[in-house]
Amino acid sequence: MFDGPKTTKLVEVDNLKMHFPIHTGLFRRHTGDVKAVDGVSFDIFEGETLGLVGESGCGKSTCGRAVLRLYDITDGSILIDGEEIGDVPQKDLRTKRPTMQMVFQDPQASLNPRMTVQAIIQEPLDEHTSMSKAEKRDKVLDLMDQVGLNRKFAQRYPHAFSGGQRQRIGIARALALNPKFIVCDEPIAALDVSIQAQVVNLLEDLQKEFGLTYLFISHDLSMVRHIATRVAVMYLGKIVELAPREALYADPLHPYTKALLSAVPEPDPDLHDTMDRTILTGDVPSPSNPPKGCNFCTRCPAVMDICHQQDPEYREVLPGRFVACHHYANVTTEAASAAASEASDTQSLSNTNTKTN
């Protein structure tokens, strides 16, 4: 328990499901479900950043929102700071909101254009604290300093700010109640590259200063590599792989992670030409009608017969590394940790897998 900050679990998500019903026909009969998040389990340790990556429509944003109970979840349990919030009614959640906050993707749409920056950042304080007017004003100005906004602009409206500055307003609002846990839903996707780095550095500084824990949702694999401690890869409503950052990027296990990493354009022409690329064919199946067996079986370059029949179990195949893939069905944690001393074993495992590609 004393070997570093990564020992306390702040967030524990177990078998989280978020299905959206489909109603069709004259009588709006319930004919199916969009299984946006379909049985996802992960933990987030205090002070770490868990990156959640995947392509559009894989359910990563829904997952982030469901963890904060912005939806009434279909099934599963969510423990935040030791408290179960999975089945708590929305009205009782209000008192728990201050510990968990969110930074949204689109700084344009998530800030009310008719409120001044002061009013926007102050709103959570109005709702959840009994501070006096003067106290609130001081707190807002402090927050503006912390996120690098000039306090002279407190009475301005969001339209007067650039995209990067607007995202800073959103971050200041999320920080107002001294939360422990912040879900960042694609916070940099709408920003230009030269501004992205500014916002990411700010998020890192704030994490160090306040000991924050992040769930960082993004489709940008290179940015996630920079900011995340551990990374979870989602595909069609499920986590296919979860691993510490270095391990995931250096030696991805799941065929989807491999393909995803090799699809990222490499800004070095030499590397680009020598890289081994896996180009996936086809598109992501619909989450309302996922394929039988493994969700990735329709596009997997290393597909086997069993993949079409059985959904692979999501389990820990190496210490700290979770994968849902039949290729690792026979790898047990004990065997793997025994073999971990001879690191070559892991190597040969990934090699066999590459050959089948």
Binding site: V193, Q198, H226, P269, T281, V284
Partner: protein, 334 residues
């Protein structure tokens, strides 16, 4: 890419200004570049750098007013596209010059099936009969890798996924065998795995059809993968131009160098701290009299606030608009 060949497209001193309430926006300032036959030219820049407006201006696609193309020449096929009459320009667009836009969702008409939309340029520009156009449309869908082309022609845009829609857009742009294809952020709205598919398709098509392509993007990784030559834009101007390998090996302009450093990667070493470019891109309110990057530049000289640097040739087909010489680490001797 045959060196020294006559360029298919030659843009000189292009200048575009938007009139807005209470002033002007100088979106494109004195932009010059050429495009050689069979070449893939990457145009990189952030939003507002003028890359899309440049391409729209040279095809006369900007609504006038508010846009005003104030000067320059665009030589294509022995004619200046800025001077030709509307009829010739219309025949060129979609005919000899194809265009693929960023968002495949909004650039296809939702009430016509895909077949009609591919046949439209064939019938308008090539005067094909309906039957001949239908045959050609099927070939085009096969060319861009859409399976079951016969059936798919009758489908409507909403029945296609994002990647497939972008393939349809490429098929439309290729319909009349264009000499030049201009692709404006064609993969930005797509996922990485689908982007990889489209990039692969594009390279293959360019090899087979031998057309020249201008590929606009904000992603240096995309450019590194497909472009022969790269133009970097900032603040409505071209700040650097070089063959791709040369640019990435030997970036000269402080903006390009900062941009390469600020983008994290999925391979190689990981820095604990991202390099950042301080400040914001410029607001292009007036004719620039200084370097647009000077406020964010780490090697700015006094001179940069007084003069707008011209593009200096640094050899190897490489030029950069900067008074600071990255090779010597001091001011340029001019």
């Amino acid at each position: 890419m045959p060196d020294g060949a006559q360029p298919v497209l030659d843009v000189r001193g292009l200048k575009t200004v938007f009139k807005i309430r209470g002033g002007e926006v100088h979106a494109v300032n004195d932009v010059s570049f050429d495009l050689k036959p069979g070449e893939l030219l990457g145009v990189v820049g952030e939003s507002g750098s003028g890359k899309s407006v440049t391409m729209m201006s040279l095809l006369g696609l900007l609504p006038t007013p508010p846009a005003d193309v104030r000067g320059g020449t665009v030589m294509f096929d022995g004619q200046d596209l800025l001077k030709v009459d509307a009829e010739t320009l219309r025949a060129t667009r979609g005919g000899k010059i194809g265009f693929v836009f960023q968002d495949p969702m909004t650039s296809l008409n939702p009430v016509y099936n895909v077949g009609m939309q591919i046949m439209e340029p064939l019938r308008k520009h090539m005067g094909m009969s309906k039957r001949a156009a239908a045959v050609r449309a099927k070939e085009l869908l096969e060319l861009v890798g859409i399976p079951d082309a016969d059936q798919r022609l009758k489908d409507y845009p909403h029945q296609f996924s994002g990647g497939m829609r972008q393939r349809v857009m490429i098929a439309i742009a290729l319909a009349c065998d264009p000499k030049v294809l201009i692709a404006d952020e064609p993969t930005t709205a797509l996922d990485v795995t689908i982007q990889a598919q489209i990039l692969e398709l594009m390279k293959d098509l360019q090899d087979r059809l031998g057309m020249a392509v201008i590929w606009i993007t904000h992603d240096l990784g995309v450019v590194a993968g497909i472009a022969d030559r790269v133009v970097v834009m900032y603040g409505g101007q071209i700040v650097e131009q070089a063959p791709t390998r040369e640019l990435f090996k030997n970036p000269q302009h402080p903006y390009t160098r900062a941009l390469l450093k600020t983008v994290p990667r999925v391979t190689g070493t990981r820095d604990d701290r991202l390099e950042i470019i301080e400040g914001q891109p410029p607001i292009l309110g007036a004719q620039p009299t200084a370097c647009p990057f000077r406020d964010r530049c780490d090697v700015a000289l006094d001179r940069c606030a007084r003069e707008n640097p011209p593009r200096y040739d640094v050899g190897n087909g490489h030029d950069a608009a900067c008074f600071f010489d990255a090779r010597t680490g001091g001011p340029r001797d001019v």
